[in-house]
Symmetry: C2
Subunit: 431 residues, 2 copies
């Protein structure tokens, strides 16, 4: 029932493996211009690592470090040895680029295949990859994993909904990779085309690449008649296949033979208590070309305490609860868009979409939340609507500690994107 | 100087290899529902093949055959053995789908790597793949070839011109895969961003996926300061990597150890004389999962007589001169859009873009050709413009035998697509 023996390694053995690989990673990283200097400055060499906890003796690596080292500063080998490059969009400044040797690509494909296996996908499955390809690691990362697993892989990419539906039906596609916000749109499209999602051949959806709530997952499962599994990955750690849910759907197993995960207090840099929320920090253990040590992901999550029923021994992280960078500060309060989504999607009258707008009221910043209401509730009874509006505002105030403006809008009135959903719009300069 | 020994095999030896592989292909194809029946009906088995010429004893396979056999009729193995699917868009009817085993993908990647090697690309090159990925074979086909060759491969995909330019500059990209019509647009974009194409690091561009003239190639080379190489491929024969130019830029070498190419008179089905234009017919020799025999490509070309200076012994095909399916019939005359492009792009006053419109004049069909004129010619002197217009119309009449309407338009006034260019628009129902 497991793809790789590392999945069920006894914790002591797993930590031995981590120590051994961390030492090797330090040795390899020392060949890069960046870490060579950092290690020299901090007197670091493989011998400082005796136990897995000794990782705290190593300095953090931040997104800014990656930017300042762009393009070659973290490479441990001549450029000639690399065969793949992925890059962030870099719309907000210098991009970051991750480079892979052939061995790194093989390792990544294996981890991704293992991830897919853990949610029940097998060689006999037909797998449609519905995410965009290109520089985004979610496309090629999942693609190579599916082929490695031996699935018949359909590189459908994003968009072209009708053809996607046709291929799914014609080839009895059993597995999908789909972005959560697109999944909701896609379910509606399937119905529009005259098909019942319950009669589609699909069984398993991988939904990653976009933070989403448990409610969104359940909604996807319900609307598509599919089992949806959450995954975690980021290009700095290869891409998808870093942590993945198992059939239990209760947290994502970090593949700890390939990564060391830590959760820290973002202010102090210290480890938080088991089960407490903090910033995820990740270290590669099996990347030769461009190892990254103690990377500050800015993603907020927690370790889920206890053992998983699936038998895997690796620790699980909870779904990502927001990004430190996405944080909105309003009237002195820190607000994560995910907090708003979590509340809204739990309200039965709410439809499939919402939008958070930052606006100016006089000189003050304010949040306006546009919420789509299901058709059956969007009736002429103003009093009922006002009641819903008030309820939503109240529940949001309880969660985010300020009272936002809530605007109820009709079903399908918020534009849907075929790609990653835009959930927050800043209108403060426009109103 | 060669990637594979098959490239310089003595012709006799090459034909021996073809015979042996064709026999094996027949044996494998007989395991598919479709060919099993076709072979039974025509009493075909491997023993009918004694020499390479005996391929004419085998029946043709057409696009309609592939459509009628969609989705599984041509598979020689259980679906479980396949790991990749590519499909045509199917906008005009049932799609066609090509399925690949892992071995087929490996063979394809090798052929593609060989193709790239033949135009001077090496492991040390940095290669940016600027075509869309997904179900289109041009994206993943070139991608896997570049990685197989060992190039640092940048899966940039289509669009996002600014980021493409940034990556090319930051990583000293030396090789590109770019669609011809996009290349012309891209050259202009590079200048717009303030860079001189002559100072870009690139050296080699693969330009396929779209029929184009020698003039277009020379224009790309001149505007981009790059060497541009033509390639031929189609998804039915895997995708790109079927025939490829060498450094001589004089015809595309068919990789005859993997494909048998024939050129026939599309009316009679007989081979045309050496050097004569006809329809290209292709047979796979190294595809195990879904072999296709004597596929009518509908592409018009000719064998280039004589030997190539590069030392490769495989026959060369000329650039594609049109598709039988693209043929416009106007006033009883067969017209290929490529004939029009060839003329237009040879006229010095013409800018970078043109558009062929099918219109109604009264009850008659007519062609209107919109032609962008270089800024320096688009002056207020009506008489000079009329002269250019008349010249173009005359030259087109000499080529296509009817006199089209010619409309001169300003530089950059015809919308450019970031993907495949739309060259013919049918407005007959609208005017």
């Amino acid at each position: 029932m497991y793809f790789h023996e590392a999945e069920t390694l006894e914790r002591g053995k797993l930590e031995e493996l981590q120590v051994q690989r961390l030492k090797k990673t330090i040795e390899q990283a020392a060949n890069s211009p960046y870490y060579s200097e950092v290690f020299k400055k901090n007197s670091i060499d493989p011998s400082v690592i005796k136990t897995a906890d000794d990782i705290t003796k190593l300095p953090f690596t931040t997104k800014d470090d990656l930017r300042s080292q762009y393009p070659y500063g973290l490479l441990t080998q001549p450029l000639d040895n690399f065969v793949r490059l992925h890059a962030s969009s870099g719309t907000t400044g210098t991009p970051t680029a991750i480079l892979y040797t052939q061995k790194d690509l093989d390792t990544w494909a294996d981890l991704m295949a293992r991830s897919m296996y853990s949610v029940g996908l097998r060689k006999s499955d037909i797998f449609q990859n519905m995410s965009g390809y290109g520089l985004f690691t979610g496309g090629l990362g999942i693609h190579y994993g599916a082929e490695r697993l031996g699935c018949l892989t359909v590189p459908a990419g994003a968009g072209n909904t009708k053809r996607q539906i046709k291929l799914i039906r014609d080839f009895n596609v059993t597995g999908l990779h789909i972005i959560p916000s697109f999944a909701l749109y896609f379910a509606a499209k399937v119905r529009e085309e005259g098909f019942d999602p319950a009669e589609m051949p699909w069984k398993v959806a991988l939904i990653g690449a976009e933070p989403h709530t448990e409610h969104t997952r359940r909604k996807i499962e319900e609307l598509m008649h599919i089992k949806a599994y959450n995954s975690y990955g980021l290009s700095e750690m290869n891409g998808p296949g870093v942590a993945f849910e198992c059939l239990e759907q209760n947290g994502m197993h970090v593949w700890e033979d390939s990564y060391i995960a830590e959760i820290i207090n973002p202010e102090t840099g210290e480890h938080v208590a088991d089960g407490e929320v903090g910033e995820l920090v990740m270290t590669t253990l099996t990347r030769e070309g461009m190892p990254i040590i103690r990377y500050r992901t800015r993603d907020l999550t927690r370790f889920i305490p206890g053992e998983c029923k699936c038998g895997r021994t690796s620790r699980r992280i909870d779904r990502i609860m927001g990004r430190a960078d996405d944080m909105l500060i309003l009237k002195g309060v820190n607000i994560y868009p995910m907090q708003i989504e979590k509340i809204i999607m739990g309200i039965p009258e709410v439809g499939q979409n919402y939008l958070i707008e930052l606006i100016k009221e006089g000189l003050m910043d304010q949040i306006r939340v546009k919420v789509e209401i299901k058709e059956e509730y969007f009736i002429e009874d103003m009093r009922a609507l006002q009641g819903i509006q008030k309820k939503i505002a109240g529940m949001l105030r309880d969660e985010i500690l300020i009272t936002p403006r809530v605007e109820l809008v009709q079903h399908n009135s918020i534009p849907k994107s075929e790609g990653k959903a835009v959930r927050v719009v800043d209108l403060r300069d426009e109103e």
